[in-house]
């Protein structure tokens, strides 16, 4: 059933009794052309694009829990593409292009809101670094502009731009096409879209092994619901990627860390865009429910516990209140944790692995949500062609051997 105001109206009259399942949960078949492990936005999206763009519909997505229950449903939903390096700009901007028509393409409103992302500069080094980004972005065709403190305040009227503060606002970089989307809807929309094209979504089906043949190539996955055959397996399991890779006998340059986020009680609209402050580690937006959505930093140690420490939350809220003291009287409603997988250069690994038929999409660290459609499309492309697209080709494993890292964070390194 197509979603529209008309169908919503018609269904209202019948008491909403006739809506079909958006994504039927299937029992696994014996074999598929492709099995995607991990039903987050990236994995479901890859299945969707395999079916819709690359003509492979005999696809299963297997998920150990419930779809969209990992980092897709736990992140602060920030979308932007104002990255420094060409490689990053290309993949994130590809994602942004796909975000733009995603609701219509999926016939599912993912509520991508181009409310803009403002990154505040608080010291001379920030100014230098952000301008470097803005200039690179401009020549790469990415819409990121430098704003004076006054211009920042025009966008965020409650921003204090007096210069005698501990962290004065010395300007900002603003990307209008950046913004937020409704995270759950992204997973649901892709799930519904993929299901309609014949993809089987199999939830509560933990993968416990990857079977490889005598030639070393993959033959399928062992799961709690039995063996599922597939000559091609795409792994898109974020924080658990090391665990999956180990099943195929691979050790990866990955570490998984707890990452927390929190929301306040809902209040009337006040935060007009996404605001990020790297110098104090604070970022904030306001949801369509009115909650302030605030991202925290990672804990220092590796963990799969989906649980972080209080002092991380304390520091996050302190940072927010330092930049925006008007929020000190707001109240925290809910705080949760996810597991982010981080590579040595904090850029993803997206492409083929040394094992024939095994493809991986991991290492997105704290930045995976914004890349969802782009990463999903590239994973699907790579699986379909058994070769990476030129957009994801740089995100190979070899870069850790030769040293051609894509290190956005190092490029913003602070010293003096």
């Amino acid at each position: 059933m197509k979603f529209s105001a008309r169908s919503l109206f018609a269904n209202a009259l019948s008491g909403h009794e006739n809506w079909p399942e958006q994504f039927p949960n299937k029992e696994p078949k014996k074999e598929y052309d492709v099995v995607i492990v991990g039903a987050g936005g990236h994995g479901l999206g890859a299945a969707y694009y395999l079916a819709s763009k690359y003509g492979i519909t005999n696809v299963a997505v297997v998920e150990k829990g419930w779809l969209g229950g990992g980092n897709t449903g736990r992140n602060t939903t920030i979308i932007r593409s104002n990255y420094l390096f060409d490689e990053s700009a290309r993949i994130y901007d590809h994602a942004l292009d796909l975000w733009d028509g995603l609701s219509q393409e999926l016939n599912y409103n993912v509520m991508y809101s181009k409310r803009g992302v403002l990154m505040l500069a608080h010291n001379v080094h920030d100014v230098q670094s952000f301008k470097r980004h803005v200039h690179a972005n401009r020549l790469n065709g990415v819409d990121n502009v430098w704003l004076s403190p006054e211009e920042c305040q025009k966008i965020v009227p409650f921003l204090d731009i007096s210069q005698n503060r501990r962290y004065p606002v010395m300007g900002g970089a603003f990307q209008q096409r950046g913004g937020v989307a409704r995270h759950d809807s992204v997973a649901w929309g892709y799930a519904r879209g993929a299901s309609k094209l014949g993809v089987d979504i199999i939830q509560n089906c933990k993968v416990i092994g990857i079977r490889r043949g005598a030639d070393g190539a993959v033959e399928g996955v062992e799961t709690e619901k039995g063996f599922i055959g597939a000559k091609k397996i795409g792994v898109s399991t974020a924080g658990n990627s090391s665990v999956l890779m180990e099943m195929a006998g691979l050790r990866f340059p990955l570490e998984s860390y707890p990452l927390q986020a929190l929301v306040s009680e809902p209040v009337k609209p006040i935060v007009p865009c996404v605001i990020m402050s790297n110098a104090v580690h604070a970022y904030i937006s306001q949801s369509d429910k009115g909650e302030l959505v605030i991202g925290a930093g990672t804990d220092q140690y590796t963990s799969y516990s989906q649980r972080g420490a209080l002092h991380i939350v304390e520091h996050t809220i302190m940072s927010i209140c330092e930049i925006f003291p008007i929020f000190r009287r707001m109240r925290m409603l809910r705080n949760w944790g996810g597991i982010v997988d981080v590579t040595p250069d904090r850029s993803p690994i997206l492409g083929k692995t040394p094992v024939q038929g095994l493809y991986v999409n991991c290492g997105w660290g704290t930045g995976g949500f914004k890349a969802t459609p782009g990463a999903a499309d590239m994973l699907a492309y790579t699986i379909a062609h058994d070769a990476p697209h030129k957009i994801n080709a740089p995100y190979n494993l070899d870069r850790f051997v030769g040293g051609r890292l894509i290190d956005e964070a190092a490029a913003a390194a602070v010293a003096h």
């Binding site: 001379v124 759950d184 809220i317 705080n335």
Partner: protein, 987 residues
């Protein structure tokens, strides 16, 4: 007022009337009232509007679980607090409260239009529409949705109140002071243990407060509580904390408590700590958080006046308030009867008890009949009458299909009890489904933690008391005289003759989630309870599902044809109660947010009117403007004065590490790219440090003070990580080396003097050091005295001029600085800041780590191959430098740029291309890392990282800017000033 107040009931102080306003109207209550109890005493039930449909709402609960009676309290500029639960805030004289999420008013709210058309806004409706035409989304739909957001008003002013945060420790932390918690505390108090007992309410005692009908050990419950508190107060190993919510349970029995200190005080002064975060490490945690009554899900359960039976009981016992004059009770649990009887015994007419169960004990029925109360067994409520207040209920008896309307002005509901497992679950204790009770209960502990009383399913006062005593290490068996707690039945569905499409039975009272929404979610394939929650938003309101989660679970389970435990429970997340951001900040705001490190000379610079910049967590003088000067004018003047005569600069922030021990040189050889063994005592050398990845990590001048002692300097921001990096290698990889590291950054103030007159200035002040160029050449260090205090005097230069860096004990730093500055008048001594320092070094082509390099630049890229030892077998980063991509052609290399127009100063960060006419995306060669106006040279200079830069010497490159402007610049070697270095040797 007073119509609904029952004399002789409650623990309020009727001698102290308190007046307050709600939505501008004045009311009166008593000290000890909550806003809700005071309004109910005045007959006011309508206190709020729901989130989505703006339905008129009254309180459902009587405490912190309340989802609906949310208000905004204002007490002056910046002290506006939205979303407060009327049931949990104490009134004070002059309190100003207002309702929220309504316009123009609470009684008539335009937003209630949503309710009329609620059929079109079922769960997930937004996913299905607002997509066409596409352009409408950004411009029309999305802004509209956003404007509908939120409950209370957003803050507009800075909160002037202050907050606190402290650490604490105890052997036993008891959370909840009902019968279980009190009994646990009494038992624990007798041991030699530190006990903390916390309760989120004003009074301790929980359900025992005002429970006049119950006796414990032959005392009335009130007397027993009073005695217990008296004993606990006397015990100096026990700390009692009220108005304190346990909000989060973290690793290793670390529990966060939020204490509210001033909100209830009429003239709460600004400056007094409003709320305090207690971060408690407990040996053992005893959770006695009780249980929350479960609402029933039936058509019309959302009228103001419909509330939990236990809430009505609390309003009566704690505040002496009857929630109505004619009260109907709808129940599926025995416990509602005793509540109804208490009301009846306080002269509240019980219009009827409607019990959904078929089998109810004869005793209860006869006890009801004895009080003249009609009991309708096997009956449900099929609808309710009234708009802004419930006026009647329709009792439906499905077996005989009869309906009967009964008038009432309040309706109490009881669907049984939900043990509070929030903190238990946060502690990662496991839970199990108890089929008999129809609830989740604690199972296996993950920490040293137990649940006792009704949160453990031990319902009833005696059960709670005995469990408490045991948990507290006692063996006391209590004797109580209490009504039997009884049992109940869980209904996943209540029958109704009215077509479902015509009914609205709410599950989440704040987020307007109905049973139909949950069924719709299941129908649409949302089968995990987390999916149901997210699709419907059930349990995501400000009560975080305390009232709604179990009902939603039952409804979803039925729709799925599964048992509740197969569907699972959503995760409990902190905080237990919404907690003020300020509380998490504690004292750490403004100057205490982060340490702002200042040098000993900083106050002098401030007095001189310096402009500062933050560098890492230091603040440094950036430039010293004279009247009317902007930064460029000041920097031009500072540069010229330094090159012409003498500049003085505070370099104290540079990191310093003393590397000492017989193997000091060996260790330095490992940590730096260049060799150290042959550096003579008294000599200095510039050192370059790499990460193991081969990229430049830090740099600085190192002086050899003795054979076994190096005075190492680092960058300002890099000092902590360099120290850590060194300790890491020393302890983990080279523990056999006999060498030790000590941070001495703050031992020394460092005064840099640069300019041809530098030596002349210090000569008269120095003792014990021969300053002559022959005895003390460039790149040497000597120990002696200056201005009478010990010094390590370095002859080094980061400007290209004759330079000294005078290290003196930091507590004397300012004094030495002032002495030298005063004496420097004869040389027109000029203080300069970091900006001038940057210009002077750029003129010489010296790099700034983090500006001219980032974490991707090798020494070769920076044109510093000369500093990488070819002879040393090992140093950190050596092997990585040999990796294929690090030795490949076409890497970005640090070069100088001179603009075609010497007046054009390039923008730092601007990107460089070979062909400015190409289309976007352009092929970028690199970027400008440093760029300044050089007053000394009369032209602009720049440094840049450019692909294959060393092979482009003399080439013209282009810098395309905004608005079609393109600058042209020539690639040169990055040494612009005095390339032969002659100025170092000025005599």
């Amino acid at each position: 007022m007073g119509d609904f107040r029952k004399t002789g009931k409650g623990v309020i102080d009727t001698q102290q009337p308190v007046s307050f306003t709600f939505d501008g109207k004045s009311y009166s209550g008593f000290k000890g009232d909550t806003l809700a109890s005071a309004l109910l005493a005045n007959g006011v039930h309508l206190m709020g509007r729901s989130f989505k449909y703006h339905r008129p709402r009254g309180p459902v609960g009587a405490g912190f679980e309340e989802p609906n009676a949310l208000v905004t309290v204002t007490r002056g500029k910046g002290r506006m607090t939205p979303n407060l639960r009327a049931t949990a805030i104490e009134i004070y004289e002059g309190m100003m409260a207002s309702s929220q999420n309504r316009w123009p008013g609470l009684g008539f709210d335009i937003g209630a239009f949503n309710n009329t058309f609620s059929a079109f806004f079922p769960a997930g409706f937004y996913n299905k529409t607002f997509m066409w035409p596409k352009s409408f989304w950004d411009k029309v739909y999305e802004p509209f949705i956003r404007n509908m957001a939120g409950l209370g008003p957003a803050p507009t002013e800075v909160d002037p109140d202050v907050y606190g945060a402290v650490y604490g420790h105890c052997d036993i932390l008891i959370i909840g002071s009902g019968p279980a918690g009190l009994a646990a505390a009494l038992a624990a108090a007798k041991k030699d243990q530190r006990v903390i007992l916390v309760d989120e309410n004003v009074n301790m005692g929980g359900s025992l407060i005002g429970a006049g009908h119950v006796s414990i050990d032959e005392k009335s419950a009130s007397d027993w509580v009073a005695k217990a508190l008296k004993d606990l107060n006397k015990a100096d190993n026990v700390v009692l904390m009220t108005r304190t919510s346990a909000i989060g349970y973290y690793h290793d029995n670390f529990v966060a408590l939020a204490e509210r200190l001033t909100d209830y005080i009429p003239e709460a002064q600004i400056g007094k700590t409003r709320e305090k975060l207690h971060r408690i490490r407990a040996g053992k945690v005893i959770l006695a958080q009780g249980a929350i009554e479960r609402p029933l899900v039936f058509n019309g359960n959302d009228k103001p006046g419909v509330m939990l039976t236990s809430a009505a009981q609390t309003f009566l016992n704690k505040y002496g308030v009857a929630v109505g004059k004619e009260v109907a009770v709808f129940t599926a649990h025995d416990s509602a009867y005793s509540a109804a009887f208490e009301l009846a015994d306080s002269n509240v007419r019980i219009a009827a008890i409607i019990d959904a169960r078929e089998g109810v004990s004869a005793e209860l029925i006869s006890a009801a009949e004895g009080r003249g109360i009609d009991v309708h067994i096997g009956s449900v409520i099929s609808k309710t009458g009234g708009k802004k207040r419930v006026r009647s209920v329709e009792v439906y008896e499905p077996v005989h299909n009869t309906q009967k309307t009964i008038a009432c002005d309040a309706l109490l509901m009881s669907g049984g009890w939900t043990p509070s497992l929030h903190l238990w679950s946060q502690s990662k204790g496991s839970i199990k489904w108890d089929e008999a009770k129809g609830v989740y209960l604690p199972d296996l502990a993950n920490e040293n933690c137990v649940c006792i009383g009704s949160c453990n399913g031990d319902f009833g006062i005696k059960a709670a008391l005995d469990a408490g005593s045991k948990a507290g290490g006692g063996r006391k068996v209590y004797k109580t005289d209490e009504p039997v707690f009884g049992s109940g039945q869980v209904f996943d569905h209540l029958p109704n003759y009215i077509k479902p499409s015509k009914t609205k039975a709410f599950v989440d009272f704040q987020n307007d989630v109905t049973d139909k929404d949950i069924k719709l979610a299941v129908r649409e394939g949302f089968k995990s309870i987390e999916h149901v929650k997210r699709y419907t938003t059930n349990g995501m309101a400000t009560d975080q599902g305390k009232l709604s989660n179990l009902n939603a679970l039952e409804i979803a389970a039925k729709a799925l044809g599964k048992q509740a435990p197969q569907v699972g429970l959503t995760t409990f997340r902190p905080p237990y109660t919404p907690t003020t951001f300020g509380t998490f900040c504690g004292y750490r705001t403004d100057d205490l947010f982060e340490v702002t490190r200042k040098t000993a000379i900083d106050p002098w610079a401030e007095a001189q009117g310096a402009v500062f910049e933050p560098v890492g967590i230091w603040r440094r003088a950036w430039y010293f403007p004279k009247a009317g000067e902007d930064m460029h004018a000041a920097v031009a003047r500072e540069c010229k004065a330094t090159r012409d005569s003498l500049g003085i600069f505070d370099a104290s922030t540079l990191g310093k590490i003393e590397v000492v021990g017989p193997d000091a040189a060996k260790f330095m050889n490992i940590m730096y790219t260049n060799p150290w063994s042959k550096l003579g005592v008294g000599a200095c050398r510039y050192g370059l440090m790499l990460g193991e990845n081969g990229y430049i990590y830090d740099d600085g001048v190192v002086g050899r003070i003795a054979e076994d002692r190096f005075h190492v300097t680092t960058t300002t921001g890099g000092a902590p990580r360099v120290y850590r990096h060194m300790e890491d290698y020393l302890q983990t990889e080279f523990p056999e080396l006999d060498v030790w590291l000590t941070s001495t950054t703050e031992q020394w103030s460092v005064i840099a003097l640069n300019g041809p007159n530098a030596r002349k200035l210090i000569e008269p002040f120095v003792e014990g050091i021969d300053l002559s160029p022959e005895a003390f050449p460039h790149m040497n260090v000597r120990e002696g005295k200056i201005c009478g205090v010990p010094t390590r005097l370095f002859r080094v230069s980061f400007s290209g001029e004759l330079g000294f860096e005078i290290n003196v004990p930091s507590h004397y730093g300012r004094a030495v600085w002032e002495t030298l500055f005063a004496a420097g008048e004869q040389f027109d001594i000029t203080p300069y800041g970091t900006e001038t320092m940057h210009v002077l070094r750029a003129e010489k082509g010296f790099i700034i780590i983090g500006q001219d390099t980032d974490g991707t630049v090798t020494p070769q890229d920076a044109g510093m191959s000369w500093i990488v030892s070819k002879k040393k077998k090992d140093f950190v980063g050596k092997r990585s430098l040999q990796r294929s991509d690090l030795v490949a052609e076409g890497r970005k290399q640090l070069i100088g740029l001179l603009t075609d127009d010497p007046k054009t100063v390039l923008e730092e960060g601007a990107h460089i291309v070979a062909d400015p006419d190409q289309s976007i995306p352009m092929d970028m060669l690199g970027h400008v890392t440093s760029s300044y106006w050089s007053e000394s040279l009369g032209k602009s200079i720049a440094m840049a990282l450019v692909k294959d830069g060393f092979n482009r010497m003399g080439d013209d490159l282009y810098i395309p800017m905004e608005g079609g402007v393109t600058h042209k610049a020539k690639v040169v070697k990055p040494v612009f000033y005095d390339p032969k270095g002659e100025r170092l040797n000025v005599v």
